[in-house]
C-alpha cells in the first residue's frame, strides 16, 4: 500500500494531490512504526510528516502554483541511478542480520546497558527519552540547533523584500524588524 502511494506520487502531476498523498504516506509510515514498537518515532512522524510538512507544502503551493507543467518523462539517467542505488542496497542488505534476530550486534552491543542500567542511572523509565536527552544528549543539542538554523534561515529568506504593491503586508512585517 505504501509502495502504491509512492508510485502515484511519481506519476501524479497535480501538486495538491501529491502533497495529500505524501501526508497519507507519512501517516501509514507512523502506523508501521507503531507496529515496530517505535511509539515515540511514530508520534513524531505523524505530527511532522502528516502535520507540519503538509501545512508547509500547502502554503508553499499556495504561493508558488499547484500544477506541474511538465508532462511525465521517463529519464533514462535517473532510472539508471535509481536502479544502481537499489542494487547496492540489496547487495548490502543480503549480509545484514535476519529480521528480529536477538543475536544481532545492535541488540548485543551498547544497547544492553541502556536497557538494564538506564532506568536506574537516570531515574526515567522511557528509554527513548533518557537516551535522547542524556546518553546522546549532545545529538539532541545539535538537533535543536538544526531547528533553530532552519528557523532563522526561513526568516533570512522570506522576511520583507516584497514588491511595493504589497505595502500592506510590508507594514505588517515591519514590526518584527
Amino acid at each position: 500500500m505504501m509502495a502504491l502511494l509512492v508510485l502515484s506520487v511519481v506519476v501524479q502531476r497535480n501538486l495538491f494531490v501529491v502533497v495529500v498523498l505524501s501526508g497519507i504516506y507519512s501517516f501509514l509510515m507512523a502506523t508501521v512504526l507503531v507496529a515496530l514498537d517505535a511509539v515515540d518515532v511514530a508520534m513524531t512522524e505523524a505530527a511532522v510528516g502528516a502535520g507540519i510538512s503538509t501545512v508547509l507544502l500547502l502554503s508553499a503551493i499556495h504561493l508558488a502554483g499547484a500544477e506541474e507543467s511538465r508532462p511525465l518523462r521517463y529519464r533514462l539517467p535517473a532510472l539508471l541511478v535509481s536502479i544502481g542505488v537499489a542494487a547496492a542496497l540489496v547487495y548490502g542488505s543480503l549480509g545484514l542480520p535476519r529480521f528480529s534476530d536477538p543475536a544481532a550486534p545492535i541488540h548485543t552491543h551498547v544497547v544492553p546497558r541502556y536497557i538494564q542500567d538506564g532506568p536506574r542511572e537516570t531515574g526515567v523509565p522511557n528509554m527513548v527519552t533518557f537516551v535522547l536527552a542524556s546518553y546522546r544528549g549532545y545529538d539532541t543539542f545539535g538537533e535543536t540547533t538544526v531547528v533553530f538554523t532552519a528557523g532563522i534561515g526561513v526568516i533570512a529568506l522570506l522576511r520583507g523584500r516584497r514588491k511595493k504593491k504589497q505595502s500592506e503586508a510590508n507594514a505588517e512585517i515591519r514590526h518584527d524588524a
Binding site: M1, A3, V9, D40, G49, A64, S82, V85, P125
Partner: protein, 128 residues
C-alpha cells in the same frame, strides 16, 4: 504488514523500494516542489532501515516496566527522531527557497529556471 517475516530480508527490500522511488522523483522531475516531496519520501524511507531491525518479535516498546523483560531497541528510535527533525528543517528551508525562486523567476520548473539563470550569466546583470 511489514512485521510479517515472509522472508528474512523482506523488510529491507520494502525499504529499498520506497527509498529508490523517492530518489527517482528527486532526480527525474523538474518541478521544484515535487523534488522536495521526493526528497522527503527518500528520507522517510531511510527511517525503516533503522527501525525495522530494532524490532524484536515478542518485545515491547522500550519503556521500562515490571511486566516486560524484552524490549525493542531504543537507540535506532533516538537516531531517527533526530533524523525526522533534520528532515523537516530541510523541507522548510527548501520550500522557503522555492517561494523565493517563484517570486524571482516566476517559475518553479527547473528547466525554465535554468534558462533564466543562463540568461543572467550572459547579460551579467542578474537582478536582485
Amino acid at each position: 504488514m511489514v512485521i510479517m517475516p515472509l522472508s528474512d530480508h523482506y523488510t529491507y527490500w520494502i525499504t529499498i523500494l520506497l527509498m529508490v522511488a523517492g530518489l527517482y522523483v528527486v532526480i527525474a522531475r523538474s518541478n521544484l516542489i515535487k523534488k522536495l516531496v521526493g526528497l522527503a519520501i527518500f528520507q522517510t524511507s531511510v527511517y525503516l532501515l533503522y527501525i525495522a531491525p530494532g524490532k524484536l518479535i515478542g518485545g515491547t516498546a522500550p519503556i521500562a516496566s515490571a511486566q516486560f523483560s524484552v524490549y525493542s531497541n531504543p537507540l535506532p528510535h533516538v537516531l531517527i527522531l533526530t533524523a525526522i527533525v533534520v528532515g523537516i528543517a530541510t523541507l522548510a528551508l527548501g520550500l522557503a527557497l522555492v517561494v523565493r525562486i517563484k517570486e524571482s523567476f516566476n517559475s518553479i520548473e527547473e528547466d525554465e529556471v535554468l534558462v533564466a539563470v543562463h540568461g543572467d550569466a550572459m547579460s551579467e546583470d542578474g537582478d536582485a
